[in-house]
């Protein structure tokens, strides 16, 4: 009898336990940030689950280069996760117009974000917002402070100072002046062209003029950055043509290169890898005292899969992603991903503080090719990759590159006015 009673208790407890478990909803997040897996699992998700009992979250990233293709296939097949990490602009807009991302305009947390922050995940008329903005990345240059001190170089603020610093490092010969390769192509466009470009085309002013059609890619302010890139060739390491992105990262963190054209997303990786002191400087301006412009690119947001089986729980998660609590947690767990939340976040990391301080003295803009201009064939962003690489290698002149890009853009894009 005793045994059967025990069995009974066990059975009852199993059923009760089962009932409790059944109430738990598991939300799955699609993302390309596989570097951040540990941070999501150890810091972000436990914080959410602690305040929202009954909802479990699992973070399932895929490789960055495959993310868009994989996500589109999963959404088409109906096997995508409940929450979708949003690429900025057209990639996500296309998902929204296809009805695969839900409209989140009504989310209370949306009030925490400025219009500029939301612009990357809105319809062209700004009527509907479909992703909660998470973070932006800022471009600039990270440098080896020990190398600069040893060679007696001060941090450059103008182009002339920048090139004389590079000359000095090259003449000394201990360090490769600049760690960048052209094998993977995107660094040349993202960390090269779109990093130094805003100073020439005056940030938002030039970017919007390009969309309006009042400026062309053959104009001086769009060709001049290519002219500067062409000069970079002499300062890149031996065999830079076959140098990959991880090669460049390693060259810099091993202390073999002095300057790294960077995006702020490198900060946490570099902090753990590099054994020397690091500093950062904004893209140098043409003349001392010029207004400076930085690429402060809205890069990552989060949306709701319209086919999710648990839209209410997913919305609770998104409200939390839009909260100041998340902003603080995320920005400090991943220094270099700067919160877009209107509530200012106090950051601990000195390198991240340096990057974010440029927001106060420079004008912010986003990458020139991302909004609207990369909708057709040929794709302006992809063409910019090849053009930047060709210009650095010297196989195409800056003027020819500008002409080719403008011709490609004109073949399908008609400005509104």
């Amino acid at each position: 009898m005793k045994i059967s009673r025990l069995t009974g208790y066990l059975l009852v407890s199993t059923f009760l336990g089962g009932a409790v478990w059944a109430e738990d909803v598991t939300l799955t997040i699609e993302s390309w940030r596989n570097d951040d897996l540990a941070i999501w699992q150890d810091k972000i998700i436990p914080a959410f689950e602690a305040s929202h009992p009954g909802i479990k979250v699992s973070f399932t990233p895929s490789a960055p280069a495959d993310y868009n293709a994989a996500l589109n296939s999963k959404l088409d097949a109906g096997s995508a996760g409940d929450l979708v990490t949003c690429r900025p602009f057209d990639a996500s807009l296309a998902l929204y117009t296809k009805g695969q991302l839900a409209d989140l305009t009504g989310l209370a947390a949306m009030a925490n974000f400025s219009d500029v922050a939301k612009s990357a995940w809105q319809t062209d008329d700004g009527a509907a917002t479909f992703c909660v903005p998470m973070a932006s990345v800022i471009h600039g240059f990270i440098y080896n402070k020990d190398a600069f001190d040893a060679l007696g170089i001060s941090v450059p603020t103008t182009e002339a100072e920048f090139f004389s610093a590079l000359d000095k490092i090259k003449a000394d010969g201990t360090y490769i002046p600049m760690a960048m390769g052209t094998n993977d192509q995107w660094e040349a466009a993202t960390m090269g062209y779109n990093n130094i470009g805003p100073n020439y085309w005056k940030g938002e002013e030039g970017r919007l003029a390009l969309i309006n059609g009042t400026q062309k890619l053959t104009d001086e302010q769009w060709v001049a950055p290519y002219r500067q890139l062409a000069k970079w060739k002499d300062y890149l390491g031996d065999g830079f043509e076959a140098q990959t992105y991880p090669d460049s990262q390693n060259l810099f963190t091993l202390g073999r290169a002095a300057i790294y054209p960077a995006g702020s997303w490198e900060i946490s990786g570099f902090n753990t890898q590099a054994q020397f002191k690091m500093g950062a400087f904004a893209p140098p301006v043409a003349n001392a005292g010029d207004e400076c412009y930085i690429s402060d690119h809205t890069d990552i947001g989060m949306g709701l899969n319209a086919a999710s089986a648990h839209p209410d729980e997913a919305k609770q998660f998104l409200e939390w992603v839009g909260s100041a609590e998340f902003a603080d947690l995320y920005a400090n767990a991943l220094p270099g991903f700067f919160s877009l939340n209107s509530t200012p976040v106090k950051m601990q990391d000195p390198l991240a503080q340096e990057f974010v301080s440029w927001r106060d003295k420079c004008q912010s803009t986003i990458r020139s090719t991302y909004q609207i201009l990369s909708r057709g064939t040929p794709n302006l962003e992809n063409e910019t990759w090849t053009a930047s690489v060709n210009v650095i290698k010297g196989t195409e002149t800056p003027e020819d590159a500008g002409k080719r890009l403008q011709a490609g853009l004109e073949s399908w894009y008609k400005p509104a006015n």
Binding site: N68, D90, L380, T386, V389
Partner: protein, 303 residues
Amino acid sequence: MASRPRTHIVVFLAPAVIVYTAVMIWPLFNTLLLALYTTDEAGRHFAGLKNFRTLLGDPNWSRPFWNALGNNIWFFVVHMLVQNPLGVLLAAILSHPRLRFAALYRSAIFIPTVLSFVIVGFAWKLILSPIWGIAPSMLDMVGLKSLFAPWLGKEEYALTTLALISVWQFVGIPMMLIYAALLSIPEEILEAGEIDGLTGWQAFWKIKLPLILPSIGIISILTFVGNFNAFDLIYSAQGALAGPNFSTDLLGTFLYRTFFGFQLQLGDPHMGSAIATAMFVIILIGVCLYLFAIQTRMRRYQF
């Protein structure tokens, strides 16, 4: 006996036919069909041959298409000129009766074939890396450092380098097939030739080579189909944008970028299917040429 119903044939064929139809024939025709549709503001509708006119007529599409096709032909030429003669040579050496450790060489040469493309692409990228690679330091040891160039990053060398990597990987296949063909040549024929005064290389050129020609034909057609479907090695070594400046772009990588999209470029299944159809037609023409022009004229020898 003859009038007995032969339902058992249908029953035995059914599993293979059903599986093959589901995973090969149906998707193939679906792809061909998808190429005839287009999606615009009005939704998806039938567009006839419009996608093919765009592919061949619009310079934005035709330029990368012809570039990829040209690269593909060069990729094939390198395989035909290097991989297959090398395979025949290795097989001829391996089949030499007095060669010691033949089994060891055979396995060593064949092993790369079973490796994954990802491993091959990654390993060679490291070997040839100008920064950490062993290629520059090995050349340095023999005093030929000046010959080293970042081959994978130079427009003029990248495709040939990748083709040779692919040759390194797959040379085991022609070697094995030719080796098997060589072993099947009866001793009597060689002895008869010897009596008539044919020895050594003469015996190879005049007796063995004609007898293994059918195998060489099969290898050529396998190489052709494999090369025009190639994608993995380029993707793992150079990425989907097939750099530098599209100099390593094959039809396969062009198809991938178009069908699935890349970075800010959105996927276009209809244009992608049009490219897939074009690849299918190119391969079909090549195989037909071989079957009707070469295979039928090949003489068969009865032992």
